[in-house]
Symmetry: C2
Subunit: 414 residues, 2 copies
Amino acid sequence: MGRLLVQKFGGTSVGSVERINAVASRVARFVERGDRVVVVVSAMSGETNRLEGLGFDIAKRPSPREMDMLLSSGEQASIALVAMALMEQGCPARSWLGSQIRIETDTNHTKARIENIDVAGVQADLDSGTTPVIAGFQGVTAAGEVTTFGRGGSDTTAVAVAAALEADECQIYTDVDGVYSADPRIVDNARLLATVTFEEMLELASLGSKVLHSRSVELTGKYGVPLRVLSSLTDPAEENPGTLITTEEQAMEQPLVAGVAYARDEAKVTVLGVPDVPGVASKILGPVGAAGIEVDMIVQNAGADGSADLTFTVRRADYERALEILREASGTVGARSVAGDDRIAKVSAVGMGMRSHAGVATRMFDALAAENINIEMISTSEIKISVVVAERYLELAVRAIHDAFELESPPSAD
Amino acid sequence: MGRLLVQKFGGTSVGSVERINAVASRVARFVERGDRVVVVVSAMSGETNRLEGLGFDIAKRPSPREMDMLLSSGEQASIALVAMALMEQGCPARSWLGSQIRIETDTNHTKARIENIDVAGVQADLDSGTTPVIAGFQGVTAAGEVTTFGRGGSDTTAVAVAAALEADECQIYTDVDGVYSADPRIVDNARLLATVTFEEMLELASLGSKVLHSRSVELTGKYGVPLRVLSSLTDPAEENPGTLITTEEQAMEQPLVAGVAYARDEAKVTVLGVPDVPGVASKILGPVGAAGIEVDMIVQNAGADGSADLTFTVRRADYERALEILREASGTVGARSVAGDDRIAKVSAVGMGMRSHAGVATRMFDALAAENINIEMISTSEIKISVVVAERYLELAVRAIHDAFELESPPSAD
């Protein structure tokens, strides 16, 4: 007996008649091999934007309920087209709206959360040899109102349906091959990771796996559904392993470092000579947060003279505004001055294994030192070590770290 | 207390953001004046064709169930947009899918018939001062499958909802002003009819009122909902009476002749010397019908010699094929020969009043004779007298009949 698979295809994968036919070929191939497949699809690419544009042309702040009604029509068209395409390939299929399945949610329009899924109808389809094609991104409230889950919500649908069906695997088809040990555009010998944990994947988001909606990751973690990210662009007949996203418990291998991530377009600001008394940091950061500026790394060093320097990073686009706010705030708290640099980048080594292994930081810093790259800031979390370097060293730093941990080769079981 | 109106807007009326805003202005104006309005809308013009095109690009004969799923997404978008536009004008509104209302139908996908409507939710909206905006054209089966009613089905939705709500009037907004006494392109002084019966409207279909889905007319007749056809192109502030479609019982005035209709692109075929014995006509017409050729007027004159001539009209596009079939059939039944003319047109005088008044035919034939127009065929029904004339006389014949019955002036109560 084959496996029970949930296969999710995003907007690009169903963006044209040709692409829809390619999705149908891919799905039909699995079915022919004996797998039972549940398909989840997004709206055709561009469609959600088109509909949203119409909504905002009519109203500055359209009713969230009506926005859900409007946007959910996009998947309604694509499920019908995918079901038709499957039938054309001799594969019995049936489309399902979120309200038909039904995928019951709370009443938070445009960002609803799934509360319950009834998979009886979908299961009956599978039992009778019919491939169900489910509209992603949409659900229905107990009162029958159409809701949506926010951008990327089709991933959530796929994972939730997989969990409810206790599927063997939930496959997210995207336009990337999977999760890499580093951005292949920067590191020639970057390796496609066979497996990665959720935590690592989230930290490696800049490497192309940001297709995954964080809510879907949360759900997968909760229900333990094996989740695989793989490419919808390859020949359906070819081997296409992608990357299996595992929970920590499932992970067979826990490499010291799974991959190297980076963030461009960062800036850092430093408030110098901050009086070293309680409550001062929040007086400085408070106005920044209140202005809607996201703060990432925060480092504070107490000086010998009873004052400290407080440095943090913001997005480059927020740099000038952050400086302005800080100049005002620094006066209030009696800091000496404000400085900054808007040509920095963040480079991070990510891996579950580093939690139980000392020496990762040392190896990373040594690698950077060997290339004469000055480290301007350091921040560590459980599974990540991040450094801030001058932006011009970004590529060099990523490659140095990738080399230092030999990420081009599969990890040995150590 | 104002009236309860159901206002239906077709695809052209909601074909762009500007048109949607115009619909909202029009509806809001009625609401401001104290009427309660239920809005029924079609998909944005072009959208149904676009979706249908995608379906046929994927499958030669797409599953009717999936076609309904696909096409019904069109109204889902337009109801949300119209509801948003109403809210922008300060008019509380809420969109309703056929499945939400719910409009329950049989299971005949792509041509479903309404079996039951639950208007409790829509009524609650009205009671709370909210304008419901209903998706036309779509319903749902008892099992929760999405169905559609066929092209023009939004009219059916409007009439059915109006009947269920016992609305004071069902207003069908179109791109014509209403029903005219004759095609204004042919007759300068053609008059917009204040009222017309269903029967007359059906016969006058060529005059621009063919926007009305026959199923909706049937329903209106059954439930006695006053139905008005009027233009969505006029300034919302201007008087816009349109044409009230009445049942015979409701009709206050029964003019002898309500209007003059015509059909171009007709052809006639004659089988000469048909043996005058029972069953012969069906032997001739049978093969024509079997070939899918629609036969309109049929005239048979028995000759003195025990044979007869059988003449009937077909669409011009079917002329050559009809001739071919008849040549074969005429041999079988022993007829003399087959002749035809593909440059004819049909002109009809239509009016409920002619049922109880003799002399209508005479007045009509006199008018044609005065213009030296030869009548090639005559056919009469309860409320219509049709003649076939050479196509080149079409305009002249229409104007002559229009003048003869003084249709430029409102009928006197006689």
